[in-house]
Symmetry: C2
Subunit: 327 residues, 2 copies
Amino acid sequence: MNMLINAPGDAVTESLHGLALSYPQLLRVHYQPDFIQRADTPVPGKVALVSGSGSGHEPLPTGFVGPGMLDAACPGPVFTSPTPDQLVAAAHAVDGKAGVIFVVKNYGGGVMNAEIAAELSDAEGITVGTILVNDDVTVSEASNRRGMGAAVLAMKIAGAAAEEGRPLEEVMTLGRQVVAQTRSMGVAMGWCAWPNARSAGRADSNTIELGVGIHGEPGRYQVARCSVDEIVAMMVEPILADLPFQSGDRILALVSGLGGTPLLELYLIFESLHRLLRKHSMIVQRQLVGNLITSLERPGCSITLLRLNDEFTALWDAPVNTPALHW
Amino acid sequence: MNMLINAPGDAVTESLHGLALSYPQLLRVHYQPDFIQRADTPVPGKVALVSGSGSGHEPLPTGFVGPGMLDAACPGPVFTSPTPDQLVAAAHAVDGKAGVIFVVKNYGGGVMNAEIAAELSDAEGITVGTILVNDDVTVSEASNRRGMGAAVLAMKIAGAAAEEGRPLEEVMTLGRQVVAQTRSMGVAMGWCAWPNARSAGRADSNTIELGVGIHGEPGRYQVARCSVDEIVAMMVEPILADLPFQSGDRILALVSGLGGTPLLELYLIFESLHRLLRKHSMIVQRQLVGNLITSLERPGCSITLLRLNDEFTALWDAPVNTPALHW
């Protein structure tokens, strides 16, 4: 247990407080129910984006709150979905009377709680839409696919569209199109731990876990240690085959560390990915490398590819000002 | 060994290439000797800031290259200083005929190589100044103190002064004043590993290593597991006593993860730090929380406090555009 905390039960709240203290101009924090709100919300007439997530994936979701991205984020306990009342309270707080969109990663509890929150908000007169994120290619049935890096891309691109004042239906459609054009896969070289959270660690740490989610799960496949070029190929080939991506496609490539892999290695992984995509005659037009969706301190990474079009690219390039993304 | 690399000997070069591919507008990379250069340098008439460092501390130093901070960075092998020829080549590349300042953390090899590089550059007609960073309070003799978080603060504040067009002497003095007003301490909850790099790991991982540097060393003291509030107090009290800081001081507080501690915990540590400083009637006016100076994937963090004055604050707030800092 390598944790720097006080009592486990207070950790999420204390961390939220620390985040709010770090960005006093940008963020406001609420407790019971817990959520982080962009300080200048509600923005009248703007569609509001809200996302919930278990904690332990930081900066997702709280680090993506700010102009050009999320209006609010609701962190649950570590690796556990937020409750409906968190989402409802956040929706109330940021509703600019143009509707609220929940960005929801496709995990059972999270989807259920978002559905309940949407019904409750709707009953109180808030129009709610949903962008469901399910970009993980390691599961064959699309309905069961887990949400991964597409969450960040959908929040950014839909967030930019909302910032432009586009209506709810259009922002929601755009976010869904982003998810539809995105595929991801994760790999882990070890495990993570947290009190009371499920920990899937095995004794044997001499294999690579290929096709992991973001909750410390084992991979779908276990493979022997090999080079990063080989690992990247094992991740990218299923991603390319699934959409399918084609030669000539313009790509936004996201390499996100799971938390315990040094930045040195993440850039090295991106170099390998870039080289492989060039070999497939694909054009990496935009990229993002860093710890965006993590699993506490787990070593590993996920690779996410989005097939760009001009609209996605323009909205990706639009200004954003959040703790984790700023340009 | 949880590494995502190809051959260890190629890792730093491949990673540099990946970094440059990630910021094609902002950075240019050179190989043999290796350095990263801000794309629009040399800027005529501007003092140039150059910093070298072993790799494995990312984003330091390469992630701090860009307008408002460093003009170039020279990464050595993992935990190993860059060679003089790297620093000389970088100085040549970014010299705007107003002089070059090396920002040097106080470690034997790094200081020696920077001195040689300064002499060589000087002989070639480049005026070179130095900002020596030695902010670690765990060593009693100031001359032996290791460089830690003050490196980031000095690069940012001196970098902003250079951007304003101030002359070499003034930029150097400012950077040295920042270091003189800064104190740091590090703590680790475990170890890190890299092929061919020294690894100080002990069998017993049930203690906290208090007073670590950034190269995977053991701490100066070993203490039993305890709460973050207790750990923060053990770090902050020696920091406050050393300068000494006083009640009423305005503070810039930096909490940097060592690489293997989740962001969730870093914000929680900052909350604890903020609370403790308030108790001492000190005012946290600026803060930075994240992975700024790391030791590969080591779990732990460092705390760095700078006593602010109006000039430091204004230069800290000045625009910066680098991979790791952007506002």
